[in-house]
Amino acid sequence: MFDRRLVLLATPRQIGVLDWRPGRMHWLGEFAATKEGLTAFRAIAGRHAHLPAVVVVDTVDEDYRSEILPHVQGRARDEVLARKLKQVFRNARFTGAWRQARETTGRRDDRYLFASLTDADWLTPWLATLEQERVPLAGIVPLALACQHLLEALRIQEPHVLVACRLNNRLRLSYYHGGLLRFSRLIGGDTPTPLPGSAADEIAKTQLYLTGQRILPREARLHVVLIDPSRQLDSAQAPLNADPAFSTRLVDLSALAQALRIPDDFLVATPESAPLAAIAGKALQLNLAPSELLQRHLEFRWRRGLHAAAAAIALVGVAATGAWWLHAQDIQDRMRTLAAERQQLDTRYREIARTFPHALATPEQLAQTVALARAIKQPAPAPEVLLAPVGQALTAMPDVMLDSLAWTDDTLDQGSLVLHIDAAIAPFDGNYRAAMQRIETFMQTLRLAPGVRDVRLRTSPVNADSASVLAGKRQDAQSPDSAARFSVELDYREDGA
């Protein structure tokens, strides 16, 4: 849709209009250079004012110059070309320059083709109509440039090619070097007339001219392509083939239609559409239109670009919005699945929790309470278990008299039981050394009892410490009331505890 355009074939007598789009085209008609023709053309242009237009000019009043210029770029190039065009074509309005190639040797200069419409007054009404109808003019190109694209479509790759194209009863001879336009001329003037002589003669004259102007190398063999829907050029093929300086190829309508992908019947009805279709989708390498005529096309291109940008932005926005929205929907779908799963989990939990005794503590506290009760209920050693080793020791030592016996149960905290014994050595003769020996023997006896881990002397009958005062009365005879009192403490722990 974006490549759709009007391609106009303008001659001093008439103008033909082709509505072209890739793969499809429509011939809108030919309009004579009369008042009625202009009116009809205005109507057509008004209906297609939204399409850019390319005007292909077919006239004898044209001029081509090949020039070699130093290689410059940017603004300098523009200035050089403007100066050169002014110099070559003076005050011609429709001029153009085409940088065709760059020399491969020397300074590597640029080779340019300069072209001009030397007399284009006949074109002004058509262009004025386009301007009035606000049709964006993309460019004005010579028909020879359209024929160059025709060569590309026909895949003709000979280095020196002369295209003899007969349209509207006029013969155009165009020379191409390396596939690029170098020279073109229209034979017979702007008024269609039958060929005065043989087309072969005209081609031979053109070859001599090109050689003379050193446009065509002297030894080059010219490949002549004959394009004529009316088949009047068929007769020229034989004499040209007889000359070793030429080789010819006759392109018939079907070959042309196939190369341009145009229906045969369409091409038969409008043979003028062939070069127009060839150039329709191409970039304009040589544009003869002055910049003031291209202003509306510049505006058109900006507008189209902005519309495309807006469409692209909107498309990206819609696509991104859709993608994020779909992503959100996907997440919500997953959420719905998870919500159902959570509901199942909650239901199963409630079923289990319903079996818990509500009046009681939490299950963990319940278990801890039971475990704690079991620990508290662990039986402590019975009193007789503690009394047995004490009794045995007292039996073995009858001079040790028991005053009191106490025990403290620390099995819950430290796992042991502490036994306190207050006793006395009686009778006591005042011999503390002997008494201490008896106490030590008593403690040794206790240590031998099963379960006893440690035995400590807590209180001694006498304090022989150097830091304290020691006083007393030594008796030689025993007193029945005298006793050496002491305290011992033992740790008891049941085996395996």
């Binding site: 505006e299 926005g317 919005t321």
Partner: protein, 198 residues
């Protein structure tokens, strides 16, 4: 493309701006929707994980309840759980004293105190100290009393400490006359229920 004719391009420029605004708005809105949905999904995922953990824990709790409920209820019935049963404890001591064939006792009950944390394990465990003073004929009377007390005790009780002594210190007493004195500290353990004063 040369300098754009701005004046002639107002409408296309407005279109570009409108398309940009609409696209940006749409993208922001849909991203916001997706972000909110993502947050909700994460919250839901967390809730699912918590529900799974709670279910697994409830199964463990179910096992704990099945394993310990009967014993817990028995402990509650014995008076281990709940408020103190001081009168019952005194009665139990009295019965144990009588069962052991002893000669009476003096008692003193201290206020209930909270148990040490290392033993309580986070539970409201406390104990009430009961100090008993009672005469004994022979040392083995104490063992019989303790055995009888454990048989009679309505709650959980431990003999914390005991002291046996001869108050007179004279062995020349009449036969069947108590000559020993036992002073014992019993600890009655209880777990306060919520709402009970500890």
């Amino acid at each position: 493309m040369k300098t754009p004719p701005i004046a002639a391009l107002r409408l296309p420029l407005a279109l570009v701006i409108a398309a940009s605004l609409l696209a940006a708005g749409g993208i922001l809105w849909s991203r916001h929707q997706a972000g909110e949905a993502q947050q909700a999904l994460q919250a839901m995922q967390t809730a699912i994980d918590n529900a799974r953990r709670r279910l697994v824990q409830s199964r463990l709790q179910q096992g704990l309840v099945a394993e310990n409920l009967a014993e817990y209820q028995a402990l509650a019935a014995r008076g281990f759980i709940g408020s103190e049963a001081r009168l019952a404890w005194i009665e139990a001591v009295q019965l144990a004293n009588r069962d052991a064939g002893l000669y009476g006792f003096d008692y003193r009950l201290a206020p209930r105190v909270n148990e040490r944390p290392q033993l309580a394990r986070g539970l409201p465990l406390g104990h009430t100290a009961m100090t008993l003073t009672m005469p004994l004929l022979v040392e083995t009377d104490l063992s019989r009393f303790v055995a009888a007390l454990h048989a009679r005790a309505p709650g959980l009780v431990r003999v914390r400490s005991c002291r046996l002594s001869q108050p007179g210190g004279t062995p020349t007493e009449a036969i069947n006359t108590p000559r020993l004195q036992a002073e014992c500290e019993l600890q009655w353990f209880t777990i306060a229920q919520p709402g009970d004063r500890s």
